[in-house]
C-alpha cells in the first residue's frame, strides 16, 4: 500500500541500491577533479553530471538560499555562452538538463544522446570557472526563486512544519536552515552574494564528475582532460568545517497548526551520526533499524503494532537520512485514526518502540530486508541516473567510491544486537524534537 506518503520526511526509507564495482571506473585529474564513469551500453544515452562539494549548509550567516539561488544563476551567461544558451543547446540536441541543491551538494545534470557528451561537457566546463553574471539576471531570477519557495514551501503546511522542526533540531549547525532559504533572507540576495559564493566554492578541485551510460572510460577521460583539465584549481576552496551541535539538555516540543493540514499527525526526529568514511557500521545499524521499524507498510514493527494488531494509526513511518556530511536525523511519524488524539498517538508510538526493544528483531523480517537489499543491487542497474546519483551524493557527503560500494555489504552484516543497541542508544525522546501538526480554523502566520 503505497498510496499515502506524507510530506513529513525528507525522504522515506529507501532501500540502498547498488553498487557493483563491475563497469565502474574512477580517475582524478591533476587539478583535483574526481571522476566516476558508470558503463551501461544498453541504450545510446549518457547522463553527465557535475557535483560540487558545496550546499546550503555552507552558506554564510544571513545569506540563506544563496547556494540554491546561485544554482539558478548558473544557467545565465558565461564567458563563452549567452544567458540560457546551455539549456537551449541541450534541448536542440534532444537532451534535457536540470540542477539540484541540497545541504551538502549542488549538482548539474544533462541527459542526452551519448555522441553529444563532448558538447555538454564543453558547456558545463564553461560555467565551472567562467560564470559572467550581470545585474539584469538577478532580479527576475530572484522573483522565480521566491515563487519556487511559495509553491514548494509556503503552499504546503507539511513543508513549513518540517522547516520548523529542523530549525529546532539544529540549534547551531546549518542543517537547521532550509535549503531554499528563509523567505526574508532569500528576498534580499544580491549579485555580489552570488558571485562571492561562486568564487569561494566553485572549481575543479571542489567538483566530482559522474558520467553514466553508453560511454567508454578512456573516451570520458580524454574529454574530461580537454574540457575540465585546463581549468586551474580554485585557491579559495577550503575543506568544509561547520559549527556542530551542543549536547541537547532539554527535550524540544513543537506545536504547529494550519487550516490546510488535512490529517493531524505527529513526527519526531532524533539527532544521530551519519555515514562516515571507512566507518559506516553505526550508520548501517541505524539504516537497518529504520527498515525494521518502518521499511514495509505491512510487515514492519510499527505497521504491525499500530496498524494491524490493534489499529490506532492510518500510517506510520521511520526514516534515516544516512547520507550527510555531518550529524544527521532519524525520524518517526504517526498519523492516528480518527478519534485518537496526537497525545495518545505519541504514547502508542513510544510504547510500540519500547516493546520492539523488548521483543527484539523479527528474524524473518530481517532476512527479507537482506534479500531486498541484495535484489536492489540487480534492479539498480536498470536505472543509470539513480546509480550516478548514489556516487555523486555519496562523494559530496564525504564518502569515497569504496565506501559507496561497500555499503550494501555492510548492511548485510548488521546483526540483531547491533540494531537493538542502535535503537537503545539513539531513540531517546529527551534528545529529540517532537512535533504535533494540527488542522486549525485560522491562519497563524
Amino acid at each position: 500500500m503505497h498510496i499515502f506518503v506524507l510530506a513529513l520526511a525528507t525522504a522515506l526509507v529507501a532501500l540502498p541500491a547498488s553498487l557493483q564495482a563491475e563497469g565502474i571506473t574512477t580517475f582524478e585529474l591533476e587539478n583535483g577533479l574526481e571522476a566516476v564513469v558508470i558503463e551501461d551500453h544498453r541504450a545510446p544515452v549518457v547522463v553527465h553530471m557535475v557535483w560540487y562539494r558545496v550546499g546550503a549548509a555552507d552558506e554564510p550567516p544571513g545569506k540563506s538560499g544563496i547556494a540554491h539561488f546561485l544554482e539558478h544563476l548558473m544557467f545565465k551567461a558565461t564567458d563563452e555562452l549567452a544567458s540560457g544558451e546551455l539549456s537551449d543547446v541541450v534541448f536542440r540536441n534532444g537532451g534535457s538538463d536540470n540542477a539540484f541543491t541540497s545541504y551538502d551538494y549542488t549538482s548539474y545534470v544533462q541527459r542526452i544522446a551519448a555522441d553529444r557528451l563532448d558538447l555538454v561537457m564543453g558547456m558545463e566546463a564553461s560555467r565551472m570557472d567562467g560564470l559572467a553574471l550581470v545585474e539584469e539576471d538577478i532580479s527576475t531570477e530572484r522573483d522565480v526563486v521566491i515563487e519556487e519557495r511559495k509553491q514548494r514551501t509556503d503552499s504546503d503546511p507539511g513543508t513549513l512544519f518540517r522547516e520548523q522542526i529542523y530549525a529546532a533540531a539544529f540549534l547551531n549547525h546549518p542543517y537547521g536552515v532550509p535549503v531554499i532559504g528563509w523567505k526574508h533572507e532569500a528576498e534580499t540576495l544580491t549579485l555580489e552574494d552570488a558571485v562571492s559564493f561562486y568564487k569561494q566554492h566553485y572549481g575543479p578541485n571542489n567538483a566530482i564528475l559522474v558520467v553514466a551510460g553508453d560511454v567508454e572510460p578512456d573516451e570520458v577521460r580524454a574529454l574530461a582532460e580537454r574540457h575540465y583539465g585546463i581549468i586551474p584549481p580554485n585557491p579559495n576552496v577550503r575543506a568544509r568545517s561547520r559549527p556542530s551541535e551542543p549536547p541537547q539538555l532539554a527535550e524540544r516540543r513543537l506545536s504547529f497548526s494550519d487550516p490546510r493540514i488535512g490529517n493531524d499527525y505527529m513526527t519526531r526526529i532524533y539527532l544521530v551520526p551519519e555515514r562516515d568514511p571507512e566507518n559506516q557500521a553505526e550508520a548501517a545499524a541505524l539504516a537497518m533499524l529504520a527498515q525494521i521499524l518502518g521499511g514495509s507498510s505491512t510487515t514492519s514493527a510499527l505497521a504491525r503494532k499500530l496498524q494491524f494488531e490493534d489499529p490506532k494509526a492510518v500510517y506510520t513511518a521511520a526514516w534515516y537520512r544516512e547520507r550527510a556530511l555531518d550529524d544527521t536525523i532519524f525520524g518517526l511519524a504517526i498519523v492516528p485514526v480518527e478519534g485518537v488524539s496526537l497525545e495518545e498517538a505519541e504514547s502508542l508510538l513510544d510504547e510500540a518502540v519500547a516493546e520492539f526493544m523488548e521483543e527484539g528483531v523479527d528474524a524473518e523480517e530481517l532476512e527479507r530486508i537482506r534479500t531486498r537489499i541484495r535484489a536492489a543491487e540487480i534492479y539498480a542497474r536498470d536505472d543509470i541516473s539513480n546509480l550516478a546519483n548514489l556516487y555523486g551524493a555519496g562523494l559530496t557527503a564525504g564518502l569515497s567510491v569504496e565506501d559507496v560500494q561497500a555499503w550494501p555489504g555492510i548492511l548485510q552484516e548488521v546483526t540483531e544486537e547491533e540494531i537493538l543497541s542502535a535503537a537503545r542508544r539513539h531513540l531517546d525522546r529527551r534528545r529529540a524534537v517532537t512535533g504535533f501538526a494540527r488542522q486549525s480554523e485560522e491562519v497563524v502566520r
Binding site: I3, I112, Q151
Partner: protein
C-alpha cells in the same frame, strides 16, 4: 579563453535510427497478445499490464470503488492475508505496483530471473484471487480517506477538481477517481467485488515486457498469470464532450500563491493533424525556457517557478490544458500573458526557427526514452493502447520531421481558441473577477 570551440548554434540532431529497440509481438498459447523487448544483460524482467477503463468504471453512487479495489489487490490473496502476501513478495524481492487512473488500471511488476515462477504465481493470486478481507478494506479505506482529506486542502488539487467538474459535467472524468469522504465511507465489500469484476477482464488487457525473458517464456508466463481471468468486464463509458466556456472561475482559498489551471477542448490522438498539433503544443507550452510560455512567463518576467501547457488526449475526451502558480498579487499578469500567447499562437502559428528547434528536440529525445526495462515495458503498453503499431518506433520521428509551418498554422487556428479559454484560479488572486 579558447577552450570552448564547439559550433553550438549549428549542432542539430541528424535523424538517425529512431530507437535502439527490437520489439517482438508475442501471442501466448492461450491467445493473449504482448509486446516484448528481450534484453539479457540484467537478470530480471519488467512486466507492465493495463486494463482499459480503470477508474472511469465506477458504478453510479460508488465513486472511489475501483481505486479502493486497486489498493486492495496487494492486501491479501489466495491463502495469504495482507501481511502474508507482503512477506511472500518481499522474500522473493519482487515488486508489484498496482495503480489506477481514469483510463486504466495498471500493474507494474518486476521480478528476478532466479525466482520468476514463484513471483509470477504470487502475482497471479493477487490478480485472480484477491481476498478483499473486511479488516484490510477498513484499514485501507482509512488511508484513502486520509489522502482525500489531504487533497481537500491542497490548492493545486482543488483547482484540478474544479476544472474537471466544469469540463466534464456528469461524465466520470468530472470527478476524482479517489471518490469523496462520503462515497468512500459508504463502500461495502460487495462494491469492491463488483468493481473487481467490472475492471479486471481479458477483453481490455494490454501487456508489455522487457528484460531477461524469451518470447516463448513470456507466452507461457502470460497464460499462467492471466488465463484465470474472466473474459468480459463492464462496458466502457461513452466519450465526453468538453463543456468549458471562455472565462474565469475563482475559488477563494487562503494561500500566498494562487494556482491556475487553464484550457479548453483538444485534439484526439488519431486526428490526421495530431502531429502538427503535438509539435505546436511543444513550441507553445513545454516546460522550460524553450517554450513560449516558459520564456514569457518565467524567464522574462519571473512570474512563476513553472508553467506548462500540453495536449491531454485521454481515451474519452481531449483537452489542451496548462497550469501555473504565481503570488496572489502577480497571478493576474501571468494569466494576461498566457492569454496573449494563446491568441498569438492561434493567429500566427510558429516560426521556421521554432519548428526546427522543436523537431530537433522531439526526434533527438525520442530514442532516449528507451533506456531501461521498466520504461520500455511501460512505453510498449502505451503504444498498444493508442493503437500505434509495431513499426511506430521507426516511423514516429519521420512524422515529426514532416510537419511544416503551414501545417502548424492550420492546426493552431483550430486548436488554440482564446475566446474559449477557461481559467480556474484557486487562492486570493488580486485584480481577477470570476466570470460566472
Amino acid at each position: 579563453m579558447n577552450r570552448f570551440i564547439c559550433a553550438l548554434g549549428l549542432a542539430i540532431v541528424v535523424a538517425g535510427p529512431a530507437a535502439a529497440v527490437d520489439i517482438q509481438e508475442v501471442t501466448s498459447p492461450g491467445g493473449i497478445k504482448a509486446w516484448l523487448v528481450e534484453e539479457r544483460s540484467i537478470p530480471f524482467s519488467a512486466l507492465e499490464i493495463r486494463f482499459r477503463g480503470g477508474g472511469s468504471l465506477d458504478r453510479p453512487g460508488k465513486r472511489g470503488a475501483v481505486n479502493l479495489m486497486t489498493a486492495l489487490l496487494e492486501e491479501g490473496a489466495g491463502d495469504l492475508d495482507a501481511q502474508g502476501f507482503a512477506a511472500a513478495r518481499d522474500a522473493l524481492a519482487a515488486s508489484y505496483g498496482f495503480d489506477v487512473h481514469r483510463d486504466a488500471l495498471s500493474v507494474s511488476a518486476r521480478f528476478l530471473t532466479e525466482n520468476r515462477d514463484e513471483a509470477v504465481a504470487l502475482l497471479r493470486s493477487a490478480l485472480t484471487a484477491p481476498r478483499f478481507d473486511q479488516d484490510a478494506l477498513d484499514r485501507v479505506r482509512d488511508q484513502v480517506l486520509a489522502v482525500i482529506r489531504a487533497d481537500d486542502t491542497d490548492p493545486a488539487t482543488v483547482a484540478s477538481r474544479r476544472f474537471n467538474a466544469l469540463a466534464f459535467g456528469d461524465h466520470p472524468y468530472a470527478t476524482s477517481i479517489d471518490g469523496t469522504v462520503e462515497s468512500v465511507s459508504a463502500l461495502t465489500r460487495d462494491d469492491i467485488v463488483t468493481a473487481y469484476k467490472d475492471v479486471i477482464a481479458r477483453d481490455r488487457i494490454f501487456v508489455g515486457a522487457a528484460g531477461d525473458i524469451s518470447a516463448e517464456e513470456l507466452g507461457l508466463l502470460i497464460d499462467t498469470l492471466l488465463a484465470g481471468l474472466p473474459e468480459v468486464g463492464a462496458p466502457l463509458p461513452n466519450d465526453s464532450e468538453v463543456l468549458l466556456v471562455g472565462g474565469v472561475t475563482v475559488v477563494p482559498f487562503e494561500t500566498p500563491q494562487s494556482v491556475a489551471i487553464f484550457g479548453h477542448a483538444g485534439i484526439p490522438r488519431d486526428d490526421p493533424e495530431f502531429f502538427p498539433a503535438f509539435v505546436a503544443s511543444h513550441v507553445f507550452g513545454a516546460s522550460g525556457r524553450q517554450s513560449r510560455l516558459g520564456m514569457e512567463v518565467r524567464e522574462k518576467r519571473g512570474l512563476t517557478y513553472g508553467i506548462g501547457a500540453y495536449l491531454a488526449s485521454f481515451d474519452l475526451a481531449q483537452l489542451v490544458v496548462g497550469q501555473v502558480a504565481s503570488a496572489n498579487e502577480r497571478i493576474a499578469e501571468a494569466i494576461e500573458v498566457t492569454r496573449d500567447e494563446w491568441a498569438k499562437m492561434a493567429a500566427e502559428g510558429v516560426t521556421e526557427e521554432e519548428l526546427d528547434a522543436a523537431k530537433a528536440y522531439l526526434t533527438g529525445a525520442y530514442p532516449l526514452r528507451f533506456d531501461s526495462n521498466a520504461s520500455i515495458a511501460r512505453i510498449m503498453v502505451g503504444m498498444q493502447m493508442d493503437d500505434l503499431g509495431l513499426d511506430y518506433v521507426n516511423t514516429r520521428n519521420g512524422k515529426v520531421n514532416a510537419v511544416t509551418t503551414d501545417d502548424v498554422r492550420r492546426v493552431a487556428s483550430r486548436l488554440y481558441l482564446p475566446e474559449e479559454l477557461h481559467f480556474v484560479v484557486v487562492g486570493r488572486p488580486e485584480g481577477i473577477e470570476g466570470t460566472n
